[in-house]
């Protein structure tokens, strides 16, 4: 079992950037019968989402978030030792986007850079990698950029996926300091690979046919280059694994939900998060939501929620639990003291 505790490493700062363009779910009349739209919005809790322009990528959004983080915290680019880019919507297939970002951000050529690819659970896994590097001798600061533009890989006539996803880029600065212990529990079950998938890849090579829009289950339209999700299976997976993961982490760190200042979930959909709140018997005031404004931004949703809802609210000691879950299947939770974390409010691209 991947249960990891890091000592003396923590999150110094977080910032986020979303595209300017807003799309409203009330305008989905072409996809969902008019009389069902309001009910759908209430259930998933998503009124509007931010969609990146065709020439704006996840790395652009993350770059702007990183610049903001540097400016707000007087961080010299040369002080970054490791840059991780977590995304499934990278700029190119080759090279890794983290290399491009090293150059663009003016980081030293001594910077260790690589990309991490995971679905909605990605922030937790990438944060664990960042904590691991920051724990090592020779490394002081790690910059984790987590950005996604699912609008580019979801078909607008897919009524399961299109109402959910929004775009965002985020930056998290991890460094050595007086933060106490941070504990992560990370899990994987690859038997669920078909639950959330893009079929085209090296296993199913891309041909002209991959770009053809076809009618799929329940009248949804998509190409083989776009995301498929079995909503019911994802839901079943999440409700059976996430509350257990949170409870296990609390138990192993000898805490209860009462000890938490905040519990930040991956913003999958409102109905699911409300279910977690009920199941964990945690006070809803401790569970921040930004899904109504930004939708499900995949792995960027945890840091985006912190930027959107916890800016100025993390002064002093703050015990925060984060939990992410998604394609893989993959899920993980972390608990840490986000002592005096500097959170920049969300900016626009």
């Amino acid at each position: 079992m991947a249960r990891i505790t890091y000592h003396g490493v923590g999150i110094k700062a977080i910032s986020s950037c979303v595209p300017q363009e807003i799309v409203y779910n009330k305008d989905l009349g072409y996809l969902i019968p008019q009389e069902e739209i309001e009910k759908t919005i209430n259930n998933i809790g998503i009124e509007q989402r931010r969609i990146a322009a065709p020439d704006v990528t996840a790395s652009d959004l993350s770059f702007k978030a990183a610049k903001q983080l540097f400016a707000d915290n007087s961080i010299e680019p040369e002080s970054i030792d490791v840059l991780l880019f977590m995304s499934q919507t990278a700029d190119y297939r080759i090279p890794a986007t983290s290399c491009l970002l090293q150059h663009r951000l003016g980081l030293s050529r001594d910077t260790l850079c690589f990309d991490i690819s995971l679905g909605c659970s990605g922030y937790l896994f990438a944060l664990s990698a960042a904590f691991a590097y920051a724990s090592m001798e020779g490394i002081n600061r790690v910059l984790l950029l987590d950005g996604e533009t699912f609008s580019k890989i979801v078909n607008r006539r897919d009524k399961v996926d299109w109402p959910l996803y929004g775009d965002a880029g985020t930056a998290t600065l991890i460094e050595k300091g007086d933060y106490g212990d941070a504990t992560f529990i990370l899990n994987t079950d690859g038997s669920g690979e078909d639950t959330l998938k893009i079929f085209a890849g090296m296993r199913n090579p891309v041909t002209a046919d991959s770009c053809v829009e076809r009618e799929r289950e329940d009248g949804n339209i998509r190409t083989d280059l776009e995301v498929f999700m079995d909503g019911m299976d994802v839901f079943n997976f999440a409700i059976s694994k996430v509350p257990k993961s949170v409870k296990q982490l609390l138990k192993e760190t000898e805490r209860t939900v009462e000890d938490l200042d905040f519990l930040v979930f991956h913003q999958a959909n409102r109905f699911m998060m409300d279910f977690f709140v009920k199941k964990l018997k945690i006070s809803p005031d401790k569970v921040p939501y930004c899904i109504h404004k930004y939708g499900n931004t995949s792995s960027a949703s945890v840091p985006l929620t912190i930027s959107s809802e916890l800016s100025g609210r993390l002064e002093g000691d703050n015990i925060v639990l984060m939990s992410g879950f998604g394609a893989g299947l993959s899920w993980g939770s972390a608990i840490m003291n986000m002592r005096d974390c500097s959170v920049s409010p969300v900016i626009e691209y």
């Binding site: 998933i44 019911m232 079943n236 059976s240």
Partner: protein
């Protein structure tokens, strides 16, 4: 585990459907209020009330309320 209790739990998930119209033999996917989001409520209800993992395939392969109940019953044992 009684089917009457299961039908009651199932019926409570609907807002607009007359509870008296739902019984063991009801073809639930034909109900006007049925939707993919309601299916999620069914999965959540089965997790909460019966501690049983219910998959999308279980919903797809079921036609009547009794079909759902039988799957829950078989897994709860």
């Amino acid at each position: 585990m009684s089917i009457d209790q299961f039908i009651e739990n199932f019926t409570e998930l609907f807002d607009e459907t007359d509870p008296d119209t739902i019984n063991a033999t009801t073809q639930f996917k034909d109900l006007e209020e049925w939707s993919s989001l309601l299916a999620l409520s069914v999965i959540a209800m089965i997790d909460e009330e019966y501690d049983v993992e219910f998959r999308g395939e279980d919903i797809r392969s079921s036609n009547t309320v009794e079909d759902l109940f039988k799957i829950v019953q078989s897994r709860a044992e």
